[in-house]
């Protein structure tokens, strides 16, 4: 084929060397802060998350209770901090589970192609044929709820999309001539997948992972709302919102605080995802 490299114009030249996108910097900073505070929540939190101060019920935010107290007189701010652990853990665990299953499937499907590919993809098609929430509801309705199970259920949900993304990137990479060069050396499967393919799939997976974390956090909240989520007195944000919604007129801070926290988290993670995407594909960002 006689197609030449597209002529790199000066404008493109400039674009290639742009500094990190603002979204990535801002989002990354917030996410990093969130992770640090979540990790140190036990030490930062002014009160134990389940300590009740019955006499101080329904206190609006004040100096003692930064985000007010809930119907048991528990400190909403402390619960928020502990809740960030659960919400982030749910997001991270679910995403890790789906990556752990989806990435190898996608790599193998894309690398092996043919019958292996077909078999994997058709199974994924069936998984994708379920509306997202259905699978989770089904899994959670069958057995008593727990955080890990919620995470697994949400994780299972994301296996198919992650595997698909991985596969499509892998297929792209397969046409890369460095892959053929490696095959011409007679490299083994594990080297091909782990050294040649995975590092190149990784950036795209990071973008996808950010989407999945967001999705998991939100879905976790919905499940808590529907009563299939974590168990009280755990302070998962979704459950806090769900419990606080009864007091939304009289003590709005109980549901507002976790709502704002979740909103910030989700936006920050989305910003990171968008920033990464922008780095990978300069066209999208501008």
């Amino acid at each position: 084929m006689a197609v030449r490299l597209a002529e790199l114009t000066a404008a493109q030249f400039i674009r290639r060397r742009r500094r990190l996108p603002t979204s990535l910097v801002v989002g990354g900073t917030i996410v990093a802060t969130l992770i640090v505070t979540a990790a140190l929540a036990q030490w930062i939190a002014p009160y134990p998350y389940d300590e009740m101060h019955v006499r101080d019920r329904f206190q609006p935010p004040n100096l003692h209770y930064l985000a007010g107290t809930d119907e048991y007189g528990r400190d909403v701010f402390s619960r928020l901090l502990i809740g960030s652990q659960l919400s982030l853990a749910l997001g991270a665990t679910a995403t890790l589970i789906s990556m752990a299953v989806g990435v190898p499937l996608g790599l193998i499907a894309g690398y092996r192609r043919g019958v292996t590919d077909e078999a994997i993809m058709r199974v994924l098609d069936v998984m994708l044929a379920f509306p997202p929430i259905m699978l989770v509801l089904l899994i959670l309705a069958v057995t008593p709820p727990s955080l890990l199970k919620t995470a697994i259920a949400i994780g299972v949900l994301a296996v198919a999309p992650i595997a698909r993304v991985t596969r499509s990137v892998t297929l792209d990479l397969m046409s890369g001539e460095f892959m053929e060069a490696a095959r011409a050396r007679g490299e083994r499967l594990h080297y091909m997948l782990l050294r040649e393919l995975l590092p190149n799939v990784w950036p795209v997976l990071m973008v996808e992972a950010s989407l999945r974390v967001v999705f998991a956090v939100l879905l976790g909240a919905v499940l808590s709302f529907l009563g299939f989520g974590v168990q009280p007195p755990a302070a998962d944000w979704g459950l806090m919102i769900s419990n606080g919604r009864a007091f939304v007129d009289t003590a709005p801070w109980i549901s507002l605080a976790p709502g704002i926290a979740m909103s910030i988290t989700v936006i920050a993670i989305s910003l990171v995802g968008d920033g990464l995407r922008e780095v990978l594909d300069p066209k999208v960002g501008r």
Partner: protein
């Protein structure tokens, strides 16, 4: 006289005159200059080529005229078109001129047509917009326009969607759309670069005819000097955002005045068999991306004629006595571009008996609809409920040849002819559907994949695409270290030294070990890819279009490098390229491939000299096409009749039934030369006779 036309002439007002055009791109705090103080003029009915390598700024000039550069570009200077300075017009007014007064055709016809609109509609669009024609009338005219482009089944093409057309056909449709309102100026930005050489020749002939018949002026942007010759009166050479030479086309091509022009012409291989000792002239180094001309001549760092004085101040564009413009103070005093010559090695003699690679009747058929998706549920009665859709595409068909140790076999053919597939079959990256591939006497097909390791060490590959030939996540050092580790070719402690030695072999500094692919230029990446192939100490390398993605000057250095390595290590190559001239430069023998079959094979001299296979002749004619010749009717994606000669549908000499039904075997003409053709008297001229209109029944569009 014609040289004058390229300049602002007071007597005849030019159609387009560019004065002191400077283009800068700004973003954030950085700034890059794409064109610097460019001035030229194009007379009515004339044609001017702007020639330069990637990044020289030539496309930015075209973009500035079309107002396509976007908000980051800052354009100064004036652009007089039909006496009016269009630089000062409002964007809407400038947009109004496009398609009406100025037509434009771009490089890649594959993406330039809107996939969601019918072709005819897209040609009719400017007529509706500018001439105010009602759509039905415009559509009717679009059909006529397509016919004018040499398309037979114009009505059918007009109703087609772009994906149903071949590349050449698309480009014809795009030219038709650009010329729909008969604009006085047509800007062509690399219009043939993405096309096969035979198609390119046809498009060039078409443009030449249109220019003659319609009197349209052409502004032709290209990287290819030889293409320019066929179409243009004048040529402007750009280097690093500057115009370095401007003049009448024959004068520039035959007696280039600027050192860069000289180098560019010299690095282009001639269409002739080369001796083992011959090397191409090459321009050392690479074009700077941010050169400041105030510091001196921008070409000085690469110029073999360079003197201290060249770097002291800016070079001015001076007029030579014969009306030529050159940006070099000592242009008059220059000799020819220095040519590198290696001590002529004796032409080696190869014995067929001790072949390193022996390919016997090898075939490869792709099942394009592989896997479960090939299974279809039938809705029509009579068939089994599930059936497998038969979509089998033969890519390589009954090919036999051998390569001796130290021999280079060139493999030429157009895109899709199966030459890359053949290369991969040799390396067992694909398994053949039939026939055998032997390496060093061992039948590779019989070896299980695991047992191929010793073969893999001895046979390597270098690819075309410099963008993807290296894993972007591995440093150069890691990439070169891997084969050493895999085949245990050096002790772990010695591997760094060995990597540096490999870099030295491909003439890269040892410090490149730490670099990543994105920090390398195209030529440097290709050197690393060659070094990686050399790392296993192979005896045989498949070079799959190793220079096609590179600029001419870089191309020459890589070809020279490959020749040096061949001589130094006694390597055998299968050198695959679509470019007959490049193949001829390096190959001992040449095989010509068309649609999965070898139609001619012989020593380089035999293949390049008559008698030819009709297809070889067509390739040669396209490559050597100096003069505009009458173009043949567009016959681009002809389907070969199964069982017949693969070339029959395009062959100007077709004999009829025998060509359609019987596949001609390779017929030896000499001990080393064989041609697969039914003709008794083979075409005997390098330049073809007038192309006979092929059988209209078969003349697919």
């Amino acid at each position: 006289m014609s040289a004058m036309s390229a300049l602002a002439s007071p007597s005849a007002e030019p159609l387009l005159e560019i004065r002191n055009l400077t283009i800068r791109y700004r973003e954030d705090d950085r700034q890059v200059t794409a064109a610097r103080d460019i001035s030229f003029a194009l007379r009515r009915g004339g044609s001017l080529a702007i020639v330069g390598e990637s990044g020289s700024g030539k496309s930015s000039v075209a973009g500035a005229i079309l107002d396509f550069l976007g908000p980051t570009a800052e354009v100064t200077g004036s652009m007089l078109f039909e006496g009016q300075d269009i630089a000062g017009l409002a964007p809407a007014q400038r947009r109004q001129m496009l398609g009406w007064r100025i037509g434009a055709v771009f490089q890649d016809p594959f993406t330039a047509l809107n996939p969601a609109l019918r072709v005819g509609r897209q040609i009719a669009e400017p007529m509706v917009q500018h001439l105010g024609l009602p759509l039905p009338e415009a559509l009717a005219r679009a059909e006529l326009a397509l016919r004018e482009m040499g398309i037979d089944r114009a009505a059918e093409v007009a109703r087609a969607f772009p994906h149903q057309l071949s590349g050449g056909m698309k480009q014809r449709a795009l030219i038709a759309a650009a010329l729909a309102c008969e604009p006085p100026l047509l800007i062509l930005d690399e219009p043939t670069t993405a096309l096969d050489v035979t198609v390119e020749a046809q498009i060039l002939r078409l443009l030449s005819r249109l220019r003659r018949e319609k009197g349209v002026s052409l502004l032709f942007i290209s990287h290819n000097l030889s293409v320019v010759r066929r179409l243009c009166d004048d040529v402007a050479v750009m280097y690093a955002s500057q115009l370095v030479e401007l003049g009448e086309v024959h004068r520039v091509l035959e007696r280039p005045a600027h050192p860069y022009s000289k180098g560019l012409l010299a690095s282009r291989p001639p269409l002739a068999a080369a001796s083992r000792g011959s090397r191409l002239a090459a321009i050392a180094g690479q074009m700077p991306t941010t050169a400041e001309p105030d510091a001196g001549c921008v070409f000085a760092p690469r110029c073999p004629f360079h003197e201290p004085r060249c770097s002291t101040g800016p070079q001015l564009l001076t007029i030579t006595p014969d009306g030529h413009r050159v940006r070099c103070w000592k242009a008059d005093a220059l000799g020819p571009w220095p040519r590198q010559q290696v001590a002529a090695a004796a032409a080696p003699v190869f014995h067929r008996g001790d072949a390193l690679v022996n390919v016997t009747q090898v075939s490869k058929t792709f099942d394009r609809s592989g896997g479960l998706t090939a299974w279809r549920l039938s809705v029509a009665g009579g068939r089994p409920l599930l059936y497998r859709s038969p979509k089998r595409v033969p890519a390589v068909n009954d090919v036999s040849f051998s390569i001796s140790p130290g021999e280079v076999l060139g493999l030429v053919g157009e895109s899709g002819c199966g030459k890359s597939t053949l290369g991969r079959l040799l390396l067992q990256l694909l398994r053949q559907s039939g026939g055998s591939v032997e390496f060093d006497g061992a039948d590779l097909a019989r070896l299980p994949a695991q047992a191929l390791s010793p073969f893999r060490k001895q046979a390597q590959i270098v690819f075309q695409n410099v963008g993807s030939s290296l894993n972007p996540r591995l440093s150069v050092g890691e990439a070169l270290d891997r084969p050493l580790a895999l085949f245990r070719l050096a002790k772990p402690g010695d591997r760094t030294k060995r990597v540096e030695a490999l870099l030295d072999m491909v003439r890269l500094p040892a410090a490149y070990r730490k670099r990543f692919p994105h920090q390398l230029s195209g030529g440097e990446r290709q050197r690393v890819a060659i070094a990686r192939a050399l790392a296993t100490e192979p005896r045989f390398i498949v070079c799959d279009e190793p220079v096609s993605a590179l600029d001419v000057s870089v191309q020459a250095t890589i070809v020279n490098l490959l020749a040096d390595l061949r001589d130094a290590f006694g390597l055998s190559y299968l050198f695959i390229s679509h470019d007959l001239a490049v193949v001829a430069q390096l190959s001992d023998r040449i095989a010509v491939m068309y649609r999965g079959r070898i139609c001619e094979i012989g020593t380089a001299a035999e293949v390049l000299a008559p008698p030819h296979h009709p297809y070889t002749q067509m390739l040669l004619a396209s490559a050597a096409d100096d003069e505009p010749a009458p173009e043949p009717a567009a016959g681009m994606i002809a389907a070969a009749t199964p069982g017949g000669c693969v070339f029959a549908a395009r062959c100007p000499y077709t004999l009829g039934a025998v060509c359609d039904t019987t596949s001609p075997p390779l017929r030896p003409l000499t001990a080393s030369h064989a041609i697969a053709c039914h003709l008794d008297i083979l075409p005997n001229a390098a330049v073809p006779p007038v192309f006979v209109h092929p059988d209209p029944q078969r003349a697919a569009i």
